[in-house]
Structures are given as structure tokens and as C-alpha cells.
């Protein structure tokens, strides 16, 4: 069951990666493309065990590294630790409402963007505070909306399924 769940989530990450690189990379808001891959990694990591979350993150990073990475492995590590930290920090059993998940997603994306900017400046790449702010807001807000909608949809599906099941039980 766990393996099936993990496979489902990995497939989800792959679909999100395809959408990101083929559709969302073409959208520009203040020169920044929205990033649904980070948001998907965060959302799926929250509902996963520590190892599964790290695996999901690592897989998202692997895809990014293989198709676009300069130095193989950097994105794998970043996404893997993102998944790991989100899974550690957020209790999957607690009631994570869509709004809370949106906030978690925003904070995680903002932190990741700051880490990336720090790493870039450490390696001597030019960085701009304005672009970092735009990146945090565009990717953060978009990620928050994605997480909000995902959790909202999941809750609705779960409610409907519960209703259908209770209806079946009543009929029996």
C-alpha cells in the first residue's frame, strides 16, 4: 500500500514537472515564472512519512537536475531536504486546513528562494534584491494558491467519498 502511494505521488510529481517545464515556465509575472514543482513537493511531503517525503523531494530535484541542472546533484539535495524538513516540521496527522497549507507553502518557498540567493551570491553570481523579492512573492503566492486549492480539492473528494461510503452502509 505504501509503495503504491509513493508511486502515485512520484507520478504526480512527474506530471507537475512536465506542466512546469512546458507551460508554467512560459508565464512571466514581474519577470518570474510561477513554480508549481516546489509547491507540489511541499504539499505531497506534508502528507508523507519522512523517508517518502525525502524521496519525493529527491525525485523532483533529480528531474530538474537531469533536464536543466548545471551541476548534477545540487537540486536533488535541495529538494530532498525541502521534503525532509517539511515532513519533519508539519505533523501530517494534525488538521492542516487549506489556509494553513497555503501559508506553509509560502513560507517554505520564501525560505528556499533566500537559500538559493545566498548560495548564488556565495559562488559569485550577481544577485538582485528586487528580483529576490519578486521571486518570493510570485513563486510564494502562486505556491500558496496551488497548495490551498490542492488541499481544498482533496478535502472535498474525501468528504464526497465518506458520504458515498456512509450511503452504501445505510443502504445495506
Amino acid at each position: 500500500m505504501k509503495t503504491v502511494n509513493n508511486l502515485k505521488k512520484l507520478t504526480g510529481i512527474y506530471i507537475v514537472f512536465l506542466l512546469q517545464s512546458l507551460i508554467f515556465e512560459n508565464i512571466r509575472i514581474f519577470s518570474c515564472p510561477p513554480d508549481i514543482l516546489i509547491a507540489a513537493t511541499i504539499v505531497l511531503s506534508v502528507s508523507s512519512e519522512i523517508k517518502s517525503a525525502a524521496l519525493l523531494g529527491g525525485f523532483a530535484g533529480l528531474l530538474t537536475d537531469v533536464m536543466y541542472g548545471r551541476v548534477f546533484g545540487i537540486n536533488i539535495l535541495m529538494y530532498m531536504y525541502l521534503g525532509l524538513l517539511v515532513s519533519l516540521a508539519v505533523d501530517k496527522k494534525s488538521d492542516n486546513s487549506p489556509l494553513i497549507m497555503g501559508w506553509i507553502s509560502f513560507v517554505c518557498i520564501a525560505l528556499m528562494e533566500i537559500v538559493v540567493a545566498l548560495l548564488k551570491s556565495m559562488f559569485g553570481y550577481p544577485s538582485s534584491a528586487g528580483f529576490l523579492t519578486a521571486n518570493i512573492f510570485v513563486k510564494g503566492i502562486f505556491g500558496a494558491i496551488f497548495a490551498f486549492l490542492y488541499v481544498l480539492l482533496r478535502e472535498k473528494v474525501a468528504k464526497r467519498r465518506k458520504k458515498a461510503l456512509s450511503g452504501e452502509e445505510d443502504a445495506q
Binding site: L22, E25, D65, M67, Y68, V71, G73, P126, S127
Partner: protein, 274 residues
């Protein structure tokens, strides 16, 4: 907050060390074997998805562009609507056909090198790096540093060639440098991608202070760097200014290629010696 067990810490430390080791090896040797193997497996799926996305995009563009005409036609004759749908599809094929034909003509017009056409199957553009992924690789005779261009102008060079995919570092990348020449004045310079240049703007640096370059001059590749062949259009100069130390001039170049609109490119596979 959950706690990480000792066993988990050891596992993650080992994985991190392993990935870092692979990173260092691939960075130092430039050999991305792991990346190539995985890329070879996943690029056909991405290529197929890109084709579906491209087809949908073309169809949508055609619907939006002919929306006004369609509304007028609906008012006049309802039965023409179905014919319009067919027309839109034909127009989509026509546009694509024209694009391919112009690329073919361009490839044939350059007798000094052989080119192969490729589809863009992914892109990753941020404030510093601009990379696109194409659906052809070493299997199609594409090598590292192969030059990528379109009918509009220069796109970049292949930074990594996998078996059936390649990563292309575009001219907008902060690490890209292309030896360039002004068509009218013959002044030389280096066209570099710059921070925040994602919108089709590059900078031509190291132009001699006595240069006669003016705003509006066209810029193309010069063969000076050894990678890019001479005569591929880069763009148009829109602004000229002195550099920070006032030793040379630098110009803002509006590129003829927009990195966000690329879907088909040509890759130079062989340069024919004259």
C-alpha cells in the same frame, strides 16, 4: 514536530555524501553519465508531452486570432461555423508548415555548415540561467558546444549532449559570452547574457571607445571565439553607454530571438571547411 532517528540521520548523511561526490565528479570531469542515462529514459515522454502542448497551443492561438471573424460569420451564416473549424486547423498546419519551410530554407542557405532541426521540449529560465532542452542528442550527431539558432537568429550553444536530448545554454544565460560584430561599422564586442535579461535583452560589452556603432545597428556573430560561426544574427542595438571604468563602450542588444517563444530550432551538426 517529528524527530529524526539515528538510523535516518546516518542514511541521509550517506545519501548526501554520495550525491555530493557525484556532483563534484561531474563538475570536475564534465561527465554527466548519470544525468545522461536518466535523461535518455525520460526525454521521449517529455518530447511527446511537448508535442501535445504545442499542438494545443497552436490550436488555441488560431482560435483566438480568428475569433472576431468567426463571430461575424456566425451572425451571417451559422452553417459556415463548422467549415471555419476546419479552416482553423488547416491554418494551424499552414503556419507550422511555413515555419518549417523557412527553417529548411535557412538550413539550406548556409552552405558552410550542416544543420538538423529539433523541437524544444522544456525550458528553465530564471534571473541568471536560461536553459532549454531539445529532443535531439548525440544519436543525431549533436555534440557539446554545437550552435543552436532559428530563422530569426542565434539561440545559444549545446552545453550538454545526452543520447536523445540536449541542454542548450541560451545567449541570455549570465554565463554565456558570444563574440559579435556590428554589421554596419564592423566594431567587435562580446554579447553577454546578463542578470535579469530573461525578456530578450543582452549586453554587448568591450566595444572599443572609438567605435562608430550607433543605436539601430544590427549585431551578428563573428567567428572570433571559435564556437559560433560568422554571420548568425543576434539582434539590434537599442542603447549605447560607457562601461563603469569608462575604458570601453557597452551596448544593450534587443535580441531577434525571444527565449519564451521558442518551439523549433536548428542545431549545427557539422561545419564544412572551405
Amino acid at each position: 514536530m517529528k524527530k529524526l532517528g539515528k538510523k535516518h540521520i546516518i542514511i541521509f548523511a550517506c545519501i548526501t555524501a554520495l550525491i555530493l561526490a557525484v556532483s563534484i565528479v561531474s563538475f570536475k570531469t564534465g561527465n554527466n553519465a548519470v544525468s545522461n542515462i536518466i535523461g535518455t529514459v525520460i526525454s521521449p515522454v517529455q518530447s511527446g508531452t511537448a508535442a501535445v502542448v504545442r499542438g494545443t497551443k497552436n490550436f488555441a492561438v488560431n482560435i483566438f486570432s480568428s475569433g472576431k471573424n468567426a463571430r461575424e460569420n456566425e451572425k451571417l451564416k451559422a452553417e459556415i461555423a463548422s467549415l471555419n473549424d476546419q479552416l482553423r486547423m488547416v491554418e494551424g498546419y499552414k503556419t507550422e508548415n511555413e515555419k518549417l519551410r523557412s527553417m529548411l530554407q535557412l538550413a539550406e542557405s548556409r552552405s558552410d555548415f550542416e544543420s538538423t532541426a529539433a523541437n524544444v521540449i522544456g525550458r528553465s529560465i530564471d534571473e541568471l540561467h536560461s536553459t532549454i532542452t531539445i529532443d535531439k542528442g548525440t544519436r543525431h550527431n549533436i555534440k557539446k558546444n554545437a550552435v543552436v539558432y532559428t530563422a530569426d537568429g542565434l539561440v545559444g550553444r549545446v552545453s550538454e549532449a545526452g543520447y536523445n536530448f540536449s541542454k542548450v545554454q541560451t545567449i541570455f544565460d549570465a554565463e554565456s559570452a558570444v563574440s559579435a560584430i556590428c554589421l554596419r561599422s564592423g566594431d567587435m564586442g562580446i554579447v553577454e547574457g546578463s542578470s535579469l535579461s530573461t525578456g530578450g535583452i543582452c549586453t554587448m560589452n568591450y566595444i572599443d571607445k572609438s567605435a562608430k556603432t550607433v543605436v539601430g545597428d544590427m549585431v551578428e556573430t563573428s567567428a572570433a571565439g571559435g564556437i559560433f560561426p560568422q554571420g548568425i544574427l543576434i539582434g539590434k542595438i537599442t542603447q549605447i553607454k560607457e562601461d563603469n571604468r569608462a575604458l570601453t563602450l557597452s551596448a544593450v542588444v534587443e535580441t531577434s530571438v525571444n527565449p519564451n517563444n521558442l518551439d523549433k530550432v536548428l542545431v549545427i551538426t557539422d561545419v564544412i571547411a572551405k
